[in-house]
């Protein structure tokens, strides 16, 4: 297990390196001059050149890339052009909001997906199954930019239950979490349903029923655990997407997460901050994928990591 973990961690290095390299090249290739954005048009040309030298933007791209890698190896992600704060501090300031929203959205998704997925599979081709299918379709087809304001309209304006936007209390978390969790719930629910339907038809479920176990117990205790591996894979991918932040949801609810920070950094051509944000997202994504792989063995003891 330890060897497997080390080998996976080793594999993560080229993946993360590849991502940051591509981002480094892309952000330098797209038009837009951070110096002009920082100093404004009215600054003197000499002043702009001075700043360009100071930020080492006058150096060849290869040298800048080398500096960036060297800094990254030392744990120094540089200083944001925009705020003049260390990039790491900027990102860490946003991480709690991102983690909180991701965890809450995933909780919402699981709370919807599991009961409905199980009911849907157990009552295949009944009204309940069709209703769940319809709800899943609805959840998938409602874009966040539409669902967010709709939820605000109903629960904030109509019922006065939650604040419209902002960050800080449990009330602020509910609507963005539901907005982000709904689409995910639909995917997980459909995935769980199809996996459960496959498992329900297996002999061991029939055997469990023959031993006198109720259908519900047979499904929940035996079939469900075996259906979880593909569901877990999808969950892992979804968590990766959640951590990278949902720009739209964060914008609608004025949620100060990493996703919004990334967009602001791109707009300002704040190279160190863009690179730092992407590094954070890449690290989170590969870490969640690794965690998902490790969880497989907990769900299915036949899976061994050597």
């Amino acid at each position: 297990m330890r060897r497997y973990l080390f080998s996976r961690l080793r594999q993560m290095v080229p993946v993360v390196l590849g991502v940051v390299t591509v981002v480094f090249l892309l952000i330098h290739l797209i038009p837009g001059d951070p110096v002009e954005i920082m100093l404004g048009e009215s600054a003197l040309a000499a002043q702009k050149e001075e700043l360009r030298r100071e930020l080492r933007l006058d150096r060849p791209l290869a040298v800048q890339y080398g500096d960036f890698l060297l800094g990254m190896a030392k744990g120094d992600l540089g200083t944001s052009f925009r705020s003049r704060e260390p990039v790491l501090r900027e990102i860490l300031r946003r991480v709690p909001a991102t983690l909180l929203l991701s965890a809450a959205s995933m909780t919402v998704a699981l709370c919807i997906a599991f009961p409905l997925g199980i009911v849907s599979a157990m009552r295949q081709h009944t009204f309940l199954d069709h209703l769940c299918g319809f709800l899943a379709m609805l959840g998938l087809s409602m874009p966040n930019f539409w669902l967010g304001p709709l939820l605000i309209l109903i629960f904030s304006i109509g019922l006065g239950l939650f604040p419209v936007s902002g960050y800080g209390t449990a009330g602020h978390l509910v609507l963005p979490a539901v907005t982000m969790g709904t689409g995910m719930a639909a995917i997980l629910m459909r995935m769980l349903r199809s996996q459960l339907l496959e498992e329900i038809r297996q002999d061991y479920v029939r055997a469990a029923s023959a031993r006198g176990l109720s259908r519900r117990a047979a499904v929940v205790r035996h079939a469900l655990a075996n259906s979880l591996i593909p569901v877990l894979t999808v969950m892992g991918l979804q968590v990766g997407a959640l951590l990278s932040g949902s720009i739209i949801t964060e914008t609608i609810f004025s949620w100060p997460g990493v996703g919004r920070l990334t967009i602001q950094a791109i707009d300002a051509r704040d190279y160190p901050l863009v690179q730092g944000c992407i590094l954070f997202i890449a690290l989170c994504t590969v870490a969640v994928n690794l965690l998902t792989d490790l969880l497989y063995s907990r769900l299915d003891p036949r899976i061994r990591y050597e």
């Binding site: 797209i30 038009p31 837009g32 001059d33 002009e36 954005i37 920082m38 100093l39 404004g40 048009e41 009215s42 600054a43 003197l44 040309a45 002043q47 702009k48 001075e50 700043l51 100071e54 925009r82 705020s83 003049r84 704060e85 300031r93 304001p149 605000i152 309209l153 904030s156 304006i157 019922l159 006065g160 239950l161 939650f162 604040p163 419209v164 936007s165 902002g166 960050y167 800080g168 209390t169 449990a170 009330g171 978390l173 509910v174 914008t251 609608i252 609810f253 004025s254 100060p256 919004r260 920070l261 602001q264 791109i266 707009d267 300002a268 051509r269």
Partner: protein, 519 residues
Amino acid sequence: MADVKDRLASALLLAAIAAASPTGCSQRMPADSGELVIAFPGAPVSIDPRLSTDAYGTQILQMTHASLIRMDAAGNPLPDLAEGFEARSPTEVVFRLRDGVRFHDGRELTSADVRDTFAWILNPRNRSPHRSTYETIREIETPDSRTVVFRLSEPFAPFLAGMVRGIVPAGTRAAGYSPPIGAGPYRVDDYEQDTAIRLSRFEGYHGGAARIEQVVVKFLPDSNVRFLELKKGSVNLVLNGVEPDLIPAVLENGNLVMEEAPGSNVSYLGFNLRDPFLSDARVRRAIALAIDREAIARTLWKGHADLADSLLAPGFWAHDDKIPPLRYDPAAARRLLEAAGYRDPDGDGPKPRFRLTYKTSQNELRRRIAAVIQEELRQAGIAVEIQSLEWGTFFSDIRKGNFQLYSLTWVGIADPDIYHYAFHSGQTPPEGANRGGYRNPEVDRLVTEGRRETSREKRKKIYGKVQQILSRDLPVFPLWINRNILVRDRRLTGFVITPDEDYASVKEMTFRKGKEAGK
């Protein structure tokens, strides 16, 4: 039993919802507690007056920091920290500070703080974007704690407009998102980057304590959310943050009222004068005549825009009132194009006289405006391809001269010296903002003279001539000036809408009570 279970579940659900909501169903709105909540369409990048360049930062600083002088709606200087100033010569200006002005921490504001604020900006190591504004300052002398003498290397008329800069205590370092203290009517209590800033009344403010005790500025980038926050009552003042389409829906709420006043931000159509088609002034004029600005202002801006004839707003002191109007005349546009040698190959047929590219930002309304202009120019025989670009790319293209037509808005014009910056032949990027490459020796001479002349009357005449020449040459076509639209809680009074969207009057605001509020 099932009924009891259902009821219990419902009760639990309701309790959970109520617990999740900090204030429950009977949420107290900010206005009830006398708190003013303002929504901005974006968050400031910096709220350090020595570094801030964006509009949102500037507007917060108008509430938290005091400057030597302020400007009125017409661009005339008013005293603030300075009780008066005197130009001893064209290169020497003396400011006399008020007595007993204090910063938010109780320290006395002295001439040393003023000197240090500007010296900090001028220090190249501090990378202040405002350094070029004060390049002509040769020396700052402080003979006593209340007198500041600025000596300039040459006469520079826009110097005074540059004195609208928040003063911070001497020795203040730039510290990222931590706002430095000031001497304005409100102090910063809490700043949540990208979310909100909380201000509280500074009792020791030299202009008399503000009337509203607490002010919260929320940064709400989504226009629908600003609308919904207003509707709910959790925001009670929005200036220029409600889309024209949504204004009637906002006003359905009886607690809100709208006020409108002339603005100063001029939208314009920029031409690349290095382009073979657009180098011909007749083509530029034809394009201007082919665009029905009135229809666009009436329909897309819902009447909340006034037609522009110059980069200066009509109420501004240097605006020339005798600029000949340029009215929509598609027939004249076609005649001018013919005269310029661009014949329509097939009359009303699909073939154009020539093709142009029009670059604009990704703002939805700007894209719709671009589509209307595209259709109007098509009718004149000019095929236009619209390129709607992400801001960084768009602005980079404009700066590099990589465009034919583009549209942008000039904001925050405080001095007619803008004409030097935008039209002097030596101000093509990277030096200045003459992006279209306009060259006219007469304009060069006038705008150079204008920045050295300290008499306002003489400057008005100089810039009047500049505006006349530009209205003939049309290096840019001024389109319209958006009106400033304030949506506020009916009970709020005292906010003065200025053309430059100044928030300084927040300190005069108050909540009317009882019957008064209904008025």
